[in-house]
């Protein structure tokens, strides 16, 4: 699972008001190269919750992203920023570890790159 997907996941246990962003407990992180596509990044930038991405990247060992959400104009002018965004969103894979609900502390395991978000019967 990559950070682009982490940015779209939330904990939906019954009664949880704020199940986003899930904290990342990184066991094993791998990197896989993906073709650089600025158009795609510009499209996704608007949908990304910046803080969640920065924290997620940091917990996966990548601390190069600026703390505050950059202005959208950066997307057209700053290629080095786009490259960092590209790397964080698309090239880092959480292979083993867990996602933790920020409200309840419930852990969702990640094995072989697949988060298991299934809820127990009493959580639905």
């Amino acid at each position: 699972m990559r950070l682009i997907t982490h940015n779209m996941l939330s904990c939906n246990i019954k009664g949880v008001a704020n199940g986003f962003p899930l904290l990342i407990e990184a066991g094993k992180v791998i990197e896989k190269e993906v073709d650089f596509n600025p158009d795609f990044l510009r499209h996704m930038f608007a949908k990304i919750e910046w803080k969640a991405l920065v924290e997620g990247a940091r917990s996966m060992g990548y601390a190069e992203l600026p703390e505050d959400s950059p202005d959208a104009t950066v997307l057209d002018s700053d290629e080095s920023f786009l490259k960092k965004l590209h790397h964080a969103l698309l090239e880092l894979h959480l292979e083993e570890g867990a996602l933790v609900c920020p409200e309840t502390g419930r852990k969702f395991p990640v094995n072989k790159g697949i988060p298991n978000m299934l809820l127990h019967e009493d959580e639905v």
Binding site: T5, M8, S10, N12, F40, H43, K47, K112, L118
Partner: protein, 245 residues
Amino acid sequence: MPSRIAEIRLVSSHREVYEPCDDSFALVDALLADRTNLIDHNPKICMEIGCGSGYVITSLILLLKNEVPGVHYLATDTNPIATRVTKETLQAHGVDADVICTDIASCLEKRLAGSVDVIVVNPPYVPTPEYEVGMEGIASAWAGGENGRTVIDKILPVVDLLLSEKGWFYLVTLTSNFPAEICLMMRKKGYASRIVVQRSTEEENLLILKFWRDKDEESLKKETSSSFVSQFSRSLSSLMEKQWR
């Protein structure tokens, strides 16, 4: 060069995971038939709900890969073994998608609403007793409850929530699922629909439906439920005649 789709010999398998069958092939044929439109559609996020063996999502990636770069692919399944098998099938074809084990798309609904440009679903559509719905393992791949509609009817509002303004939705159904009624339910949510593929096998009569948001509110108001259903039946019978001719 013919379009590439997933190769059966590279599709991973497990006794608790549904193997590619006539319904999977019909869905991939529908995507192939609509490939030029999909390329023009230029999707950014594509998703399969209920990915099973991974045959369909892998085929979708392969048939768009060269023409539409920069797409985020997601796949979900409620069966943990199916999510692993899907990953293996993707890897065997040298492609990738983020695979999540979840019930329909429940952990994605909040953040992914209004963002998905293509959703494909081969749901558990076989009419079964209601208690078989939601059982673990391979039963979750086919047990559809009354008229095979229990899971389909849960998926439809989720799809409506996740699809972007321009989003498209491909759904496998049987004639015994009352597809005209499914289209009418979606019509009431503002979707137009058409039958992309119709195929009769020895056991089942399959329809692959495609849905998209219809901006024409006027036609929606004018349509009555009965005129809609009779129109659907007419187009279905003309398709079936063609097949048997």
